[in-house]
Symmetry: C2
Subunit: 230 residues, 2 copies
């Protein structure tokens, strides 16, 4: 049965094309050409384009977690080091050279969710998010509210996600040399982990900051003088 290998061939080709063009703009003809199979193969093996897309997204998430599993840390590893490794793995998944289509495809789902997104959120993003929350809660000096934990976690994720989303735009802002030397995965992981660690460590000690009671948002009027003193 070569059928399995053909299916896999189509899936990876489809992953690349879907990641590049999105579901609607991607054509089954381009996918089949890239996979070196006949146009009818997609319908023969997957039923229709939509089903192929769903299986492609599932494969993307599966491959990414298999190749780069998030480590299970013993208690001996400091929360700070856990944060650093977490960020590093996340950046590797997002920016790692090979099989970039997998994260690009998932990025598309984040930005414009389709039917494939719900299971992606529950099976992939939420568990990862929960792990980050645990790290954050260990890092924060005083216990904080759940919402604050969420904000802190999103700040970590956001910094990483940015370099995936703006992958082609960031190089337009800085020199090629700088890109290579200071924005490679290792350097970025160091920066983001340190940045987040400093912020989280000092979080919740200065008093309630997010108070800034509901005051109107004309940029003219001074926005919420942050009342806490550094």
């Amino acid at each position: 049965m070569a059928s399995d290998t053909v299916k896999h061939q189509i899936l990876t080709a489809a992953g690349s094309v879907f990641a590049d063009h999105g579901f609607k703009s991607a054509t089954v003809r381009e996918i089949c050409k890239s996979a070196s199979v006949n146009v009818a193969a997609v319908n023969y093996y997957f039923g229709d384009k939509q089903q192929l897309y769903l299986e492609t997204v599932r494969l993307a998430h599966r491959l990414k977690t298999e190749r780069l599993p998030m480590p299970k840390w013993p208690d001996s590893v400091s929360p700070k080091e856990q944060l650093h490794q977490y960020v590093h793995v996340m950046l590797q998944r997002m920016l790692g050279e090979q099989d970039l289509w997998q994260t690009r495809l998932m990025m598309r789902e984040v930005m414009r969710p389709t039917d494939a997104c719900r299971s992606l959120v529950e099976d992939y993003f939420r568990p990862q998010f929960e792990r980050l929350l645990k790290i954050v809660d260990q890092l924060v000096p005083n216990p904080v509210s759940e919402e604050k934990s969420h904000q802190l976690a999103f700040s970590v994720i956001g910094q990483c996600f940015f370099y995936l989303a703006a992958r082609d735009t960031v190089p337009m802002m800085i020199t090629e040399e700088e890109m290579k030397t200071h924005f490679a995965i290792d350097e970025l992981a160091n920066h983001i982990a340190n940045f987040a660690f400093a912020a989280i460590s000092s979080s919740g000690i200065g008093g309630d900051e997010s108070g800034s009671s509901r005051q109107n948002n004309r940029q003219q009027s001074n926005t919420a003088k942050a009342k806490n003193v550094p």
Copy 2:
């Protein structure tokens, strides 16, 4: 001469459709239907779909900066307050209720640049980026290298950008109530500004560690400036 109003009508309709579906997937038929004009109007007034797209992106950037200009701060305003206002305006631009298509369209250009992107970067993103760099340089306790400034600035932008890109996914991770109370624009601005302030303030004093011990960036000799080699 209704021609000007018709052109504007098509432009705003196109902006919305392009922001929703992207250039390729958006159809001129849907645009024209949304603008209540004949299908041929796009070609009559703009030549072709591509030209319409370019003018739409230009309009998006122009409208967004006109409605929400970045304030010019007198020296009396503290850098911390400048940072806060900067973040607040950025979030307002990105998440502000009305005319959301404008930022969604620019977001698409960031993630998958087309021909329209180069001018967008130079005319819109770079000036904004430079202003943020100035704030960051005021906030950092000791002078840091140019690359470090860039990293810090990107960390601020990334946190904001995330809530635009993941606009539909974040609500799947938290409750609706939490979304309304702790992830509205004002609350997010407070959090991100405080988060970034804490991180930047402690940047360049603690010393870096974290895993791969690059003995790299402490205030490097100033600016290994751009040399522009092709």
